[in-house]
Each structure stands twice: as structure tokens, then as C-alpha cells.
Symmetry: C2
Subunit: 295 residues, 2 copies
């Protein structure tokens, strides 16, 4: 994961319909189980013996110490080494391990807790929260990851890709005034072969030098951009639209059926980088977010 791909808390996760073979040991049809806090609460006492070793935790030496600690802790959480319910080392242990002060460790942990990756309770400790992995806290929603997490096989197909220069309408969409070159493309993302997302995208070639249609035949534009282009700001807009002919064909849905459309604009400083319009078959796909009151 590149540094540029880390983003601040988005308490919204896209949920994709269950794959053919769901994960085994799970209570079925308990609607309340979709909410985190109760499970976590019981887990706090149940699993408190699950501790982890401090050994592999290393600072990477770049940036403030508290952000380094934050990364060191978030890594095993996000890649699944620390299962939900796992108790992480106590502040005092981390302080000793990293040779820093407790306040610095505290800041790192608090920030992760604020984003919902961790849950803290006095005397008990800090545990990895349920669905910590489901939260795309650090990444800009990456469809491949979302599909993979749902247990399905990810697929990708580039439908159209071309450079455009003299298209005032598209330039206006990205709000680039000078006649900069733009890349325009359409692609679909598949889950077990079924289309789950159609992506229309406009890329400012000036901001993303080196982009061409060739690599995009293999790798989706999202990951490519994340790996090659830094960003400082993003904006998401969610709306409901009816599927036109193009969308209906790509998503294999009925013409005019309701679609959930996420529009994502990204900037690097003041220069627009890309505009992506992501179409999802309406009722099946949902965006879910959880939160608590500020005490």
C-alpha cells in the first residue's frame, strides 16, 4: 500500500452481495449481528487472553513517531494478522518497545480508535474491533479489495479507452481550463463473473504522466493511479440514477433500473487528477456506515 493511498476515516463501506460460498462459522440471519458493539463487548472479556507479540512491530522512520506507530499497528490489523477481538499490547508495553513516551503511543492508538479500527476500555485493554478489516479507512475504495473481501473472485474488463483533447464537455467535468490532454475510459468490475460495478473515468494526463491504455487493459485504473499518482484531496458524491443503454448493457441489468452511482473526484493540490463515476446495480449494492455519538 503506497503512502498516497492512506485516507482519513470514511465510515462508509461498500457492501457487495454475498458470494456463492459464504464463510463457514457464522450465525445466519441474526440481524443484530450486523451491528458491532454488542459482539465486541462480549469479546472484550471473552478473548482478553489473546495477546500478540511486540516483536514484528517496527517503525519505518518516516514522518512523526505517532504516525509511524499508527502504521505499525494498523498493518497487522488490516492484513488480518490480528483478528478482531485480539488484544493489542498495552500502552506501557508499546512505550517501552518503541522507546517513546506514553502520550505518543496514546495519540497513535486514539487515532485508530477514533476511526473504529480499535476499541478501548479501561483496565481491559485495547482490542481490534469487529469489522476492522471491512472498513476501508486507509484506502480509497478499491473494488478489487472489496470483492476479494467478500470472498468472491475478482474480474476486470476494459471496455473503452481513448485520449481526448478537444472535448469541452469533458474538460468542464474535470474543470481543466487549458487544453490539457485527457484520458477517457469505461470498464467493468466483476465478482464471480457477475458485473458489480461499471466505471467511467476521466484522467488528467498532465497530472498522471505516463498513463496509457496499455497497462489499463490488465490493471484497473484505480490501482494504477494509486500506485503512480499522489493525491491530496478527494470528494465523493452519491446519487441514484436510472441505467441508460450503456450502463444496462455493462451491468447486465434492465434498462431504466435504479443504480447507485458514486462519483469520485480527486485533486493533487489544486490540479484535478481524475473523475470516476462508479455505477452499481441499485438495490443489491449498499453503502454502510456505523458511528457513535461523541460522548
Amino acid at each position: 500500500m503506497s503512502a498516497a493511498s492512506r485516507g482519513r476515516a470514511i465510515p462508509l463501506a461498500i457492501v457487495i452481495p454475498k458470494p456463492v460460498a459464504p464463510r463457514s462459522d457464522q450465525e445466519p440471519s441474526d440481524a443484530r449481528a450486523t451491528a458491532a458493539s454488542h459482539l465486541d463487548r462480549t469479546m472484550l472479556s471473552a478473548n482478553r487472553k489473546d495477546s500478540v507479540s511486540l516483536e514484528p512491530l517496527r517503525l519505518d522512520g518516516s514522518g512523526p513517531i505517532w504516525l509511524q506507530i499508527r502504521r505499525a499497528l494498523s498493518q497487522p490489523i488490516l492484513n488480518g494478522d490480528w483478528r478482531p477481538g485480539t488484544r493489542i499490547p498495552a500502552e506501557m508495553d508499546l512505550k517501552a518497545h518503541f522507546q517513546t513516551s506514553r502520550m505518543t503511543v496514546n495519540k497513535a492508538i486514539q487515532s485508530l480508535a477514533a476511526e473504529g479500527l480499535l476499541q478501548r476500555r479501561r483496565k481491559v485493554g485495547t482490542i481490534v474491533s469487529e469489522r476492522a478489516q471491512e472498513r476501508p479507512v486507509f484506502e480509497i475504495w478499491n473494488t478489487a479489495d472489496v470483492v476479494a473481501r467478500s470472498g468472491a473472485e475478482y474480474g476486470y474488463r476494459l471496455l473503452e479507452c481513448e485520449f481526448v483533447r478537444d472535448d469541452p464537455e469533458k474538460r468542464a467535468l474535470l474543470n481543466v481550463t487549458r487544453s490539457t490532454q485527457l484520458l477517457w475510459l469505461r470498464c467493468v468490475h466483476l465478482s464471480n463473473g457477475r458485473p458489480v460495478q461499471m466505471e467511467e473515468r476521466l484522467v488528467n494526463v498532465d497530472a498522471a504522466p505516463g498513463i496509457t491504455c496499455e497497462p489499463l487493459a490488465q490493471v484497473a485504473p484505480g490501482p494504477w493511479l494509486l500506485a503512480h499518482v499522489p493525491w491530496t484531496e478527494a470528494e465523493h458524491t452519491i446519487s441514484a440514477c436510472e441505467a441508460g443503454p450503456l450502463e444496462a448493457a455493462a451491468l447486465e441489468v434492465r434498462l431504466g433500473s435504479a443504480c447507485l452511482v458514486v462519483e469520485r473526484r480527486t485533486w493533487n493540490g489544486d490540479v484535478p487528477v481524475t473523475l470516476a463515476r462508479l455505477w452499481h446495480p441499485g438495490a443489491e449494492h449498499r453503502l454502510v456506515g456505523r458511528f457513535e455519538p461523541q460522548r
Copy 2:
């Protein structure tokens, strides 16, 4: 605003179509103006003389000092006394004013900055960010507020309201197993007389004692519940659905047209409080969120 209505960062704001008479002095049709940072950046130097008085800032004596400071600061921001671009007092001034340490002030300001209400820059200071007011950071989205902020006149109409007891389907929706009494209702929210949201709601009467249909004829269920019932957890689900006969009639849209549906579940501890399904005319209404990478 009751204490129970404060929620943690939801970087998503619902945007309602512009009212008939938009606010006066505003550049029209500048697409880039929909993104915050550029404007704020120029504003940082332009308006830095705009300082505010420390005088009215008071601690309310309840809870940790940093949360008291947080409230003291967020109040004038959210109610509009401090316009976007306003420079708030420096940490050292606040420290002196509140007779506390700089770290405590810092924690309060940092938490507000993390949620996007404030923007900080070294040497320059801390300013109220553009669209700080548009962000429903503290409140559960309250339609009346959203409409009012857009400059339109808010209206409300209760369509249906009744107590239900023996309806397994509705009980399953709220996931209440025992035969607790439920209140079921439908209502519409209007902006300048035009429907902007149809609300279907199920309330657990055990969790919201005293609720009846009478007050709800005047005051919308959202505000009523916020004022009378505490909550500890909420979940939002967003999807796109086609308008059925009921929705089409209430929203005055064509049958089958795409609607943006926000489903909100609320719990108080482990007991489900309410389930609201909020229908918006699809393409006009959007949910917008902005964020930055974690450095």
C-alpha cells in the same frame, strides 16, 4: 442541541437542490468551487485579520475539559457566528482564557480539525473551514436543518401513523424478538413546498417511552426522538431503489424512477430504538463527502 445528538465525524452531507432564491453574493457555476481546499487556502491569507473575541467562550463544566473546549468552539461554528474563513483564537490565547494547558486546548482543536470543521496551518493559525456548517458532524442528519441551510422553507406532513403489535415482519426489521409494541409511520419533508424526502419509520416503543402519534403531527419523528431518546450507536445504509406507488405519490415523482434511499438504524446499548428509511428523488439529491489522505 441535546448531548445525545452529537455524533462522530460523518464526512457525508446531504445536498438538496438549490432553492428559488439563492444566497446573494456567490460566484455561480464555478465547478471547482465545489471543492473546499482551494478556496480555503486563499482565504487563509485573505481573511486572516478576522479574529474573534474570546469573551463568550465558556466551559459548561461537564465532562473532560478538552470536550468542553471542543463544544465551546464548535458552537459558534455550527450556528454560524463564526463564518468560514474566520480565524479562531490561537492555542496560547485559549490556554490562557480557559486556564488550562496547551495540550488540552490542542486536543480539542485537533479533534475538530480531524472532522473538517477547522483547518490549521503553522504560523497562520486555525480558521473555520468552508462548508463547516454544511457538515452534519454533530447531528444525526436532521432534514429540517438541511432544508433550512439550503435557504428554503421547511415543511412537514405526517401521512400515516399507527401502533402495531402483531406484525412479525416489522418486528424482524427492528430485530425485536419479544412482542414489544412498535410505532409505524410515514411522513414527508418539504422544501419550499416540494417533497424532498419521504420517511418511513419504525420505533420501538419500549425504547422510546411516551411516544404517540399526537406530537408527531407537528414535529418530525427525528427531532422528537433526538430530544427524548438517547442513543449509543447508529448505522446508515445507502442504496438506490425504484419508486413504488407509495413513494412516487409522496415524492411526486414518476413510478419506477430511481430514488436514493438512506436507511438509518439506531440503538441504545443493545436495544434497537428505531429504523428509518428515507427516500429521496434520485438524481437531484446527493450525498457528498470530502476527505484527505492521512499524510
